[in-house]
Amino acid sequence: MSCPDLGTLRASLDGAAGAPPAPASHLRTCPACADTLAELQRNAELAAPAIALTVPADQLTPAQVEAALAAFEQRRDRLAAARATRASQAQPSPSPSVGRAPEREGSPPGERVGGVVHIPSDAPAPLARRGRLARLGTRTRVAAAALVAALVLTGLVGTPAGRAAASSFLAQFRSQRFQALNVSPDQATQVDRVLAGLADTGVFTGAALHDTGLGEPRVAADRAEAARLAGFAVPVVDPAALPSGVDRTPRRLLVSPAREVRLTFDRDRALDYLRAHGRPDAQLPGRYDGTRLVIGVPAAVVQVFSGRDGAPALMVGKAGTLALTTEGGASLEELREVVLGLPGLPAELVAQVRGIGDWRNTLPLPVPTDQVRSRPTTVGGAEALAFADTSDRLHAVVWHRDGHIWGVAGVVGTDEARDVANSLG
């Protein structure tokens, strides 16, 4: 029999409707077709899990779809109104087509922007403006969540009440060691909800909440450039310590520059928030108002090593230490106590944070219990935390040494990750 064509062979792998299966008898006697089918299978098996990585993390809820529909209908109505206005204005005195600019949604017809009169066109409006706002909104939420999460996750919640810090301008927190915090999915959701509420209601405000100032990673050309950008030496990873199947040299060097983030506490809004969430008798000293929380986010360098398939397989990271201070009337400890007392935070999680003895030097690392497990270990004699995901394919180890946070993570065994860690000087 004649050889099946390429499409038929590929479809036979999927059992696609209408596709005749590749006859086993033919494949046994036709090495070319057998080889082709094997390669098709390999290619499909490479593509499937890779493309699955691009799936959105969360499914949209019906409420989100309804909100999208409402937004769509508003947008369509605005466009219709703009078209109607344009049509009525265009009739008595048609504008010359030269110099027409694309329609800007939401702009009044004929609005002068940058010296050009914008006249809506018939085509659906470009969505750049709306998109920018939408992304800004997303980023704002992200930034807000991240920055306020820093309060919670760096020990801002967690000490007994009534112990005020001696000086509000003294560095009050500096990470020197880690402690794992076990966070269940429900607890994570509760924390997310509280953090979003704080940002949305303006309890914490700051320019950092309205830009993308989260230290976007840059690609460095080499270790020297990475070191210059980060402000510290970037370690050479001993090739002999790298697991088999991993490139001997890093494929990419990512640098996240150091940055300082400032958030301002609004005492009145905090009281409003507390009273709206079941604390009608809440009181906060007036001196708390306007206190600025200063988060010193350290520079970080991540060396990315590829595996046999070309995809990233191992990361070696080094960062400075994270520091927190306050400026203003409330000490870090007092501000932490406010956050600790927020309604809606899961009591068990708060208890874990409270259980951290040396909170001024201990960086809590949240561990999602449904995805990752952690255990204490050592690296070169230093206390460390080892992590593994539930599939037991991804392993990581983080430790503190010489005033820096170090980490190794990747699709490697736990011993392999620790071997790399131990090799880093």
Binding site: L6, G7, T8, L9, R10, D14, A16, A17, G18, A19, D35, E39, R42, N43, A44, L46, A47, A48, A50, I51, L53, T54, P56, L60, P62, V65, A68, L69, A71, R75, R76, A80, P124, L127, R130, G131, A134, R135, G137, T138, A143, A145, A146, A149, V152, D192, L214, P217, V302, S306, A311, P312, M315, P366, V367, P368, Q371, A396, G407, A409
Partner: protein, 189 residues
């Protein structure tokens, strides 16, 4: 061209289609763009184009195929052009990392790894010819050969070969691009 807002019956049909297809289209847009806001924009633009289209009167599967086609084309337009695509992919990668940094549930280094893998996949997808990319994306999003054929306006029998070539091109792009001849050992025709 009539607009759906002018015909109540059509308006309800439009809303029903929106509810039925929004999440699916959002998923396709996100797979390509890696940015929540941009994926939402692409889907909104797709439905704006549906407004007033006679295709809305066609059976559900034809409307779905039309929407997928427009959604993918709209998303591709955002990636078009090497310079723009590269910048956007970099931004998408950074956005992923920024999102990950913000995730209080995340273990940062593991999340960097995931973000790096996503960046590599999207970059490889962006390098493919448009129809191969669409075919690959749709097939690995779970669409049947018939649905892919309807979306890309081709015969069902042509899906297999397009998919085979798309997967090979994806492999070459995804694997080490430093290889001077990544297809040297190919056996595919």
């Amino acid at each position: 061209m009539r607009a759906v807002r002018d015909e109540p019956g059509t308006k309800e049909r439009f809303a029903a289609v929106f509810r039925e297809r929004y999440a699916e289209l959002y998923g396709l847009g996100y797979r390509l763009l890696g940015d929540h806001g941009e994926a939402e924009d692409v889907v909104q633009e797709t439905f704006l184009r549906l407004d007033g289209q006679p295709v809305l009167d066609r059976p559900d599967e034809e409307v779905a195929a039309w929407l997928r086609r427009v959604c993918l084309n709209t998303a591709y337009n955002r990636l078009r052009g090497r310079r723009r695509a590269t910048a956007r992919l970099d931004r998408a990668g950074r956005a992923e990392r920024a999102d990950d940094e913000a995730d209080p549930k995340a273990t940062p280094l593991l999340e960097v790894l995931r973000a790096e893998q996503q960046r590599a996949v999207r970059q490889a997808l962006a390098s493919l010819p448009e129809r191969q990319r669409a075919c690959l994306l749709l097939r690995h999003a779970g669409y049947s050969y018939a649905e892919i054929a309807a979306t890309l306006d081709l015969a069902v029998g042509s899906v297999g070969v397009l998919l085979a070539r798309g997967e090979r091109a994806f492999r070459d792009a995804y694997l080490d691009t430093d290889d001077p001849d990544p297809g040297a050992h190919d056996v595919l025709p």
